[in-house]
Amino acid sequence: MTILGTDTAVADASPAPAAVRSPRRIGRRLLANAKVRIGLTIVAVFWLLAIVGAWLAPHDPNELSPDTLQGPSAGHWLGTTTTGQDIASQLLAGTRPVMLVAFGSGAIATVIAMVVGVAGGFLSGWAEEVLSMLTNIFLVLPAVPLMIIVASQLPQVGSWAVALVIALTGWAWGARILRAQTLSLRARDFVQAARANGESTRRIVFFEIIPNLATVIATSLVMTTLFALLAVVTLSFIGVTSLSDWNWGTVLYWAQTQQALQRGLWWWFIPPGLCIAILGMALALINFGIDEYANPRLRIGSVGAARLRRQGIRPRVGFTPVRRTAPARDPLDERRAG
């Protein structure tokens, strides 16, 4: 996992300690990263669709019509199902529950992970043991079967119930990573110094530890959201959640039961699949961006990797790149250019 690459020794040497960076500066630096910009734009577009999608939909997603199994057309942007339902409308109506559940349970799981992870790393004695054991139990529990069982036991499975179930099964990885990082931070000199000059435990946790965990928490949030996205689509796809609530997984469920793949009805299963893939990619891009920000070894200043390659700079340890500012000095270069 990329988060573990956050090299603590190098992070120590970085000139600006995390506590000094203002949130606005972090935001500016992150937005300077093309990956973060692209990822956030895609997520923003999906949120927009989540908000206005239901009104934007040209048809009622449940409405049956005589136009069955039609390919994409002006009337039905993404074609129709075996019962003549409009697929584009189903996807648009399904965006909101997907986004709510994915981001909602991502946030809930991160909060649980933060509490359990930081407390588990900072406390000692039986409290640490209990929290650590709890994390380990949730790590080894097979998440998807557990979700299926819990979700199918709930009487009325609404979006929030699904979000809660996913959050409760998906927090353990984040807690594990935060605990490891907290353990490492706890032993650092600046925390010892804070303890020595009499800072309270609460202040140490919130002012010394948490700011240093900010990027890990952000990464954990993004990764858990990605996990939740896949989880909610999976649950709907296998039909555990209510089929009357549209979501991308439900569309895939109907496509599957009507054998869309075998019958070559590509407009039925490719669009929802693409939606999942694009949103997943956006979250992964944000994650890469945060990682580059947090890990100084991946950080290459304000210059993108592509531009560095064009300039012939390949940052590597042990082979410092050489780029002479007067390039025409070497006759070989001149020949190549001419």
């Binding site: 200043g301 304000s302 340890v317 790149p321 050489v322 500012t325």
Partner: protein, 351 residues
């Protein structure tokens, strides 16, 4: 000492960062290391001493970037010099430890804690000479330990079982494993106490007599350099401001910064004098003052210092052969402008 050069650094320029926010850490450093010589590099923290050592060997980690210059390594007489900065990776990899070896700053963290000293010493040899036998490598490791006066049984020790001084000796042994012509010492004695420091430096000198390598000795400890180096280069804010033999630098510094640096530690011999620090703070490399980089802190600054940037030129005084200094005080015809502390001794006595 007039001998042929072995390592020539010409106009080396180094940036940290690749884009618009890059900071220039070295702006055109030129230095020559002669065969068999100890060249000391002195200067305060952040002036680019270590950057120079790492950039010259292309060991500078990202975001370091060499933006210009050449590092010429002279081989046997008659053969053309090799520019380390334009070597392809494979050639650089094979030449680096063989011709130019480095003793790094942190001996405590330069050794891998999970491998025995034996493995770490023989690894360096095996990497450069894969055809060597296990036995020959082990013999060489034994020889190397004897060279740095460590008992042979330390070969099977782990780094944590050695003291700081012993670990530094192992690092020196490792640097000497392939009999390099040039040894770069980057603050090799920083974490050690003065007694061990003296032992190690003297041992290095003895080894140099025996093996005939040349040394670039980087340290902020000017007194150490004065006692052991042949020539000293003083760096300030990414530039060399003065180069001269150790004796002359100590007796008659020409650059105000050198003078201030010498006054910031007690004299080795002679009458006691008041130890003064250097006022102000080292300049921010991202926002260097215009003109001479030292002028905001210089007690002898003139109006011209804020406008003109002095180049490193030969010292104009007779008897200063081979000395170079970058200070406008010495460039003018008006010799009275030169403060007594920086002027040649004979003249100041007669005046």
């Amino acid at each position: 000492m007039v001998t042929d050069p072995i390592l020539e650094i010409r106009d080396l320029r180094v940036d940290y960062g690749y884009g618009a926010d890059a900071v220039t850490a070295l702006s055109g450093v030129s230095l020559t290391l002669h065969r068999g010589e100890i060249l000391g590099i002195a200067g305060e923290s952040g002036c680019g001493k270590s950057t120079l050592a790492y950039a010259a060997t292309r060991l500078l980690p990202p975001p370091g970037l060499v933006t210009g210059g050449a590092v010429l390594l002279h081989g046997a007489p008659g053969t053309p010099p090799v520019d380390l900065l334009s070597l392809p990776d494979a050639a650089l990899r094979s030449r680096r430890w063989r011709d130019v070896a480095v003793v790094f700053q942190g001996a405590l963290s330069s050794l891998n804690p999970v491998h025995r000293i034996r493995t770490q010493l023989t690894d360096a040899i095996a990497a450069h000479d894969p055809s060597s036998t296990r036995r020959s490598r082990l013999d060489r490791a034994r020889e190397l330990l004897a060279m740095v006066k460590l008992p042979e049984d330390r070969l099977s020790a782990y780094p944590h079982q050695l003291s700081g001084g012993m670990r530094q000796r192992v690092m020196i042994a490792m640097a000497l494993a392939l009999e390099p012509q040039v040894l770069i010492l980057d603050e090799p004695t920083t974490a050690l106490d003065v007694v061990v420091q003296k032992q190690i430096v003297e041992q290095l000198l003895e080894l140099r007599e025996r093996l005939g390598f040349s040394v670039v000795f980087i340290t902020h400890d000017v007194s150490l350099l004065i006692s052991y180096a042949d020539r000293i280069a003083v760096m300030y804010a990414g530039e060399v401001v003065e180069v001269a033999d150790a004796e002359s630098i100590y007796r008659e510094p020409r650059h105000p910064y050198t003078h201030a640096l010498l006054n910031s530690f007690p004299p080795l011999q002679g009458p006691r004098r008041v130890v003064t620090g250097i006022g102000g703070a080292p300049p921010d490399l991202a926002a260097l003052p215009p003109g001479c980089r030292f002028h905001p802190r210089c007690p002898y600054r003139m109006p011209a210092c804020a406008e003109r940037h002095p180049g490193l030129v030969a010292s104009p005084y007779p008897g200063d052969d081979g000395r170079t200094v970058a200070c406008l005080l010495h460039g003018t015809d008006d010799t009275t402008a030169v403060p007594a502390a920086l002027a040649p001794r004979t003249r100041s006595r007669s005046a």
